[in-house]
Symmetry: C2
Subunit: 384 residues, 2 copies
């Protein structure tokens, strides 16, 4: 376990060099080749007692704050005599958090941190506050699965990328077949968010090595039907659901089942998703009970007036649904803005119709810290 997460950023005297650096050239080779004088600082540090120190170089800025889910409200930074803004705060509860700098009203990710939150609408960095005891998403010295970046062609949408996690040993057991979890990201996330922010791969590595989860394949597609649907709105908007459905069932699932050793029956398929992707996973799963026995929503996005429409496949025969589904699981944080709709509207309807489901209420909000908790909880219930 490394407790100190250090990343260094140089600030240069030579503006010409800075110009080149800004343009994406290889940094230090040039710096050294050109003899640039450098002032070093570490942009992000976590101490052994989980105090976090962040730094940002902005000599001319009037005000710089840290915006992060590590704290309830933004953290004011102070400028030192070299023009570097700095703040130390905590102790922070060990977890992996998004953060950014608010520089005179502009949100900026940490240029000294290559761990970026994959997203189509904002730029955040990700900080791993590890703590003394490795968490369920930690990169431990256990057998690791593989995350494969695959490209397939959608008849409707063109070139698409999908990430596929295969569990440890997959490639060495050529006759073994595996169950599959389809795992959908939130509305402005990408196909990389579940691994880079959600650590889905390391969570499963750890659960599998502890004997707590079955070996499974995890498929993480890009959930937006772009370019047919623009990069705005929620994934669970009706037009996106309809267009993505074509790609998901018509192109993606066949691609996966052709290229991986999957067990192709409903008891070996699960679908889960976060936020807008959670609305999608419920819609896909509940209306395709012949394909999925496990249907899971993580703070699923569903408006009150969409409940009847999106759940039609379950509502038309609750008894059959209860028999067909091995698990219908809904998790949400009590501070999540979707909590009210899920708890007061959706679950009330499910109860009235006597549809069985497991509910899981955590602290916290609409966050990827909760996503990691939800996934590590529900993964232990799949395919058993």
């Amino acid at each position: 376990m490394k407790h100190i997460n250090k990343t260094a950023v140089r600030s240069f005297a030579k503006s010409a060099l800075v110009g080149m650096l800004c343009l994406g050239t290889s940094f230090s080779a040039l710096a050294q080749a050109m003899g640039g004088a450098a002032t070093l600082f570490i942009s992000n540090e976590v101490s052994k007692d989980n105090m976090v120190t962040l730094r940002f170089n902005a000599p001319k800025a009037n005000d710089v704050k840290v915006v992060t889910q590590m704290t309830k409200s933004p953290v004011q930074m102070k400028k030192n005599d070299k023009g570097v803004w700095e703040a130390t705060f905590g102790p922070v509860k060990p977890d992996m958090y998004p953060y950014a700098f608010n520089v005179d009203g502009i949100q900026v990710a940490d240029p000294g941190n290559s761990n970026i939150f994959p997203n189509e609408n904002f730029q955040n960095s990700v900080l791993d506050v590890q703590g003394a005891t490795p968490l369920i998403h930690a990169i431990k010295n256990v057998p690791h699965g593989i995350v494969s970046y695959r490209n397939y062609t959608s008849k409707e949408l063109g070139a698409r990328q999908v990430l596929v996690y295969t569990p440890p040993g997959y490639e060495n057991n050529p006759s073994k077949k595996y169950p599959v979890l389809y795992l959908l990201h939130g509305s402005s996330d990408t196909e990389e968010t579940w691994t880079k922010v959600g650590r889905a791969n390391f969570i499963l590595d750890n659960l599998i090595s502890e004997g707590k989860a079955k070996e499974m394949i995890i498929v993480m597609p890009y959930g937006r039907a772009y370019p047919t649907i623009t990069k705005t709105g929620s994934l669970r908007d009706w037009p996106n659901l309809q267009e993505f459905k074509k790609d998901f069932f018509g192109n993606l699932m066949p691609f996966i089942e052709k290229n991986y050793r999957t067990i192709n029956e409903k008891d070996s398929r699960a679908i889960a998703g976060f936020s807008g992707g959670g609305g999608t996973s419920l819609y896909f799963g509940l209306n395709n009970q012949d394909k999925f026995s496990y249907v899971v929503g993580f703070a699923p996005g569903m408006l009150k007036n969409e409940i009847d429409r999106n759940n039609a496949g379950a509502f038309e025969n609750p008894e059959k649904t209860n028999k067909q589904l091995k698990l219908f699981w809904i998790g949400v944080g009590t501070e999540d803005p979707t909590y009210g709709t899920i708890k007061n509207d959706y679950m009330t309807v499910l109860d009235a119709k006597k549809i069985k489901y497991e509910s899981f209420f955590s602290d916290g909000g609409h966050t990827w810290m909760n996503c990691k908790l939800f996934l590590s909880t529900v993964a232990q219930k799949l395919f058993k």
Copy 2:
């Protein structure tokens, strides 16, 4: 071919919601759940005639410019009545380019573009200006290889990630063995830069489908000996070379040769790298001619006073080196700051010692546009 690359960003009226979004929550689901009024704009667009339009929301900023290798100098943006800064410029020569916004002196990547330049010292976005004819790095409808994210343990450095490209058909030919190209990134880049900015995987997919390159495995390690070596300085700094060498030969190569069907002899191994990683590839390759018959530098970082030391394995017996190496290849742009050292110092010494090498001089500077050109050129010469 899609010519319009559109990404939309919303600017919200509700500051509370903006606060949540900034913290990395799922964007549009929340927006809709909370009824937030949204103003839409597209942050990056490429027209059919390769005019580029970029937009950035900064109502309170005094000055916003585009900094990019698409143009010789920064492009001034103008603020519209909604506080969105905008610039249109071009036509831009089709290629894939880094860009960012300079907002009152602060460099900011495009929050509406999830294509991020993986780097430890700056934040850039990446724009694909595709043009009418697909380029060698285009995502074409040809058989695609797989990029696998693998985790291995270094005795010296702990948990490490490496990206491995396997060519189309690799997983369906369980008895076939493949040659290997080890491909090193530049000094502040990461193990992801060669795929996300260099498109190494798509370049090889295309060359293989056209019969121009041999099927090969490409191994893209993280080249910094962190945490033993801090995240500063060039990869080809002597301490980094020494520490990374232990990991490369002691952990990484054995991991690859254990887990992939590699042809384990020198005529089936190549090593190449860019900038600081190019200095590393020459040092590793020329001093380990029993392991590599192909040694390649892309604008390799090497100072004049390092030449004798770093090339000792070649200089001690030039005749033997000429026999042992099937290819010693050096590419550099004529506007690259390393051009002078490479052309006037390094190549002069190589010539004096009668060491055979191929030189390749392109237009342009120390850029990833040149990297794509170098890789697509040299990949056609490997393992033949």
